[in-house]
């Protein structure tokens, strides 16, 4: 087209022929990339920006917890138990005299780490499985999808409990990794099924046939052409899944099956402080509100991202 515009049918350089569509094309602005379109739509969405603000703040709080927390989250102070919010302890203290604000700040690390890592684990395992199942089909597809059905035969939370019983909950990083594994494993089929569905439709497209005709190998076709076209639903589901993963982590901790004390965890703190709810309701409210605001942030951002990536879904 560009070549025609320069030459034209008259043979005179730069003079287009009658009926040539070139002038209209030439005056059209350059096509916007999908990424730029998504970013533009995302910027226009107030709710998505609020969500992004909440998530960014929480990530910063988790990263700089050592600097922001006024006290150690595991430092017991027997003389300062059950203090109401005051100038020294902005959110009061719990039954061991530990500063609630510091526990909330440090607790964000576990929630965010488990939320993000479990979703990444599920994506890294589920997406390749879905791609292979959808692209190659046959027995491989049957074996992979039956394995996914086995996981789906259980309610998500029950399977997470089963896995945690097998792993035996512990404290610290190892404890957090066990929770990440448990939540990640139960979320794998979501991505495998999602991607398999997309791949089944993409592999029938003409451009994939063209790639094959050009002699491209399967791994290159999958990596360069199939996978990028599956990314939008993976990103949206992934963002919204972080919110679910945070709730599952909090629920496991609430039942005593998440990371074990003294590692600060919002779910565990909520459970521990419910016993004192009549006398000190704020103790249970603080970790509960922290979970709620975090989940709300990811949901707001996920909803905005979904609308930006596919406005038809709005």
């Amino acid at each position: 087209m560009r070549h025609n515009a320069l030459r034209g049918n008259t043979g005179v350089v730069g003079a287009p022929a009658l009926g040539d569509v070139v002038p209209a094309v030439a005056s059209r602005p350059r096509a916007e990339s999908q990424l730029a379109q998504t970013a533009r739509r995302l910027k226009r969405s107030k709710t998505a920006l609020v969500g992004l603000g909440i998530v960014t703040t929480l990530v910063l709080v988790a990263i700089f917890a050592d600097v922001l927390a006024p006290y150690s989250p595991i430092l017991n102070s027997p003389t300062e138990t059950f203090q109401s919010p005051n100038a020294k302890h902005l959110l009061g203290t719990d039954q061991f005299g530990r500063d609630m604000l510091s526990r909330i700040i440090y607790g964000s690390r576990i929630s965010l780490a488990v939320g993000l890592s479990s979703v990444l684990l599920a994506i890294f395992v589920g997406v390749p499985l879905g791609v292979i199942a959808g692209f190659y089909g046959g027995k491989l597809d049957t074996v992979i999808m039956r394995a996914m059905d086995l996981i789906l035969a259980f309610p998500v939370f029950l399977l997470a409990i089963v896995i945690m019983i097998m792993f035996t909950p512990t404290a610290g990083i190892v404890g957090a990794m066990k929770v990440i594994m448990a939540i990640g494993i139960v979320r794998i089929p979501i991505y495998a099924r999602l991607v398999r569905g997309s791949v089944l439709s993409i592999k029938e497209k003409e451009y994939i046939e063209a790639c094959r005709a050009l002699g491209q190998r399967d791994p290159k076709i999958l990596w360069r052409h199939v996978l990028p076209n599956c990314m939008a639903p993976i990103i949206v589901t992934g963002t919204l899944s972080i919110a679910t993963a945070i709730i599952v982590e909090a629920s496991l901790s609430f039942l005593g099956l998440g990371t074990q004390p003294p590692t600060p965890s919002w779910g565990w703190d909520l459970k521990a402080n419910v016993a004192w709810i009549q006398l000190n309701p704020w103790l249970a409210l603080c970790p509960g509100l922290a979970i709620f605001i975090t989940v709300l942030g990811f949901n707001l951002f996920g909803d905005g991202l979904r609308d930006a990536l596919d406005p038809r879904l709005k």
Binding site: A153, V156, F254, L255, P281, L285, G288
Partner: protein
């Protein structure tokens, strides 16, 4: 229809077998030797060998699975180490409590979601729509156990025992022991807060879904035709549009059953409801693995059966679905 039901029941058999396989694997993977736990301080090599032979633990793993499965089928789900009671009997006593909570929660979810979804769709982009959607977002983001605690703070502590904070009153005819005093009103008072805590999250999801489905359907030609015929808007929405919009809603409701079961496990512990959740969690804490096994098996089997029942409801909602063919 009968063919479909039989086919679906046949499909449930391998699923339940897979569940038993996972539960058996879990029991095998739990750290520690059950014979050492059983014998405790009285452990002796000869006694241990004798017990291993008695319980079939000296046999290959697949034989152990076959023996274990055979016992399950015959109704021998083991005996609790803690109480000495048969596990199957105990879990079956608690099952109706959890099922009642799930049914009530689903009822509450529908009671909120259907009017909210309709109003949000019919009055799209008005304050009513924004209010419904904002409330739905809050409902999705609030963990059910935290909502339970908020309800407890408001109705039990704030309103001085307006609703009971814990415990359970059985429905007439469902008493597991002679000692309990069943009461319909008492049951409702005890079940209301846990059911609301469980139902609100589902209501939020269903509201969003129903609004989206209705928005799509009310732009369809058959709805325009209904309007052109001069039908009242109420009839068009409730009779013509809503029925089709409910099909994806029922699908999602089916998927939500898994989340409801999971939620029930946590919410039951908040309100000390004597259902399967409390039973299972107490068993996990006490490391009574016979009880844990019974709890997991029954919950997973319930999940399969409920999904089957949800599948059956599709055919009643949409006559175009011909399962039998």
């Amino acid at each position: 229809m009968r063919e479909y039901i039989l086919r679906r029941i046949a499909q449930m058999v391998p699923t339940v077998l897979m569940i038993t396989l996972v539960v058996f694997a879990m029991m095998q993977a739990i750290p520690g030797d059950p014979i050492i736990t059983l014998l405790g301080d009285a452990y002796d090599e000869d006694d241990a060998a004798r017990f291993r032979q008695q319980y079939g633990l000296d046999k290959p793993i697949y034989i152990q699975y076959a023996i274990w499965l055979g016992k399950l089928v015959r109704g021998d789900w083991g005996v609790s180490i803690l109480t000495g009671r048969p596990v199957l009997e105990d879990v079956l006593i608690r099952l109706p409590v959890t099922l009642e909570l799930i049914v009530l929660a689903m009822g509450i979810a529908l009671l909120i979601a259907i009017p909210a979804g309709i109003i949000a769709a019919v009055r799209q982009n008005t304050w009513a729509d924004y209010t419904a959607m904002s409330s739905a977002l809050v409902g999705i983001s609030i963990p059910d156990f935290f909502l339970g605690i908020l309800l407890l703070l408001l109705f039990s502590i704030g309103l001085k025992g307006f609703l009971p904070s814990s415990g359970w009153v059985y429905l007439p005819g469902t008493c597991p022991t002679v000692a309990c005093e069943p009461s319909l009103w008492g049951n409702l008072k005890h079940a209301l807060m846990p059911a609301i805590a469980l139902g609100v999250g589902r209501a939020a999801i269903l509201t969003r879904l129903l609004r989206a489905s209705l928005l799509e359907i009310i732009r369809m030609e058959y709805v325009t035709t209904a309007r052109a015929k001069g039908l009242a808007e109420k009839v068009v929405i409730l009779k013509h549009a809503l029925k089709n919009a409910l099909i994806p809603t029922v699908t999602i409701m089916g998927l939500q059953v898994g989340f409801l079961i999971g939620g029930a496990i946590v919410v039951e512990t908040v309100f000390a409801v004597p259902g399967l959740g409390t039973y299972g969690i107490n068993a996990i804490i006490a490391r009574d693995y016979q009880q844990v096994q019974g709890f997991i098996l029954l919950v997973a089997i319930c999940f399969v059966v409920i999904n089957f029942l949800v599948d059956l409801t599709y055919s009643f909602l949409d006559p175009r679905i011909r399962y039998g063919s």
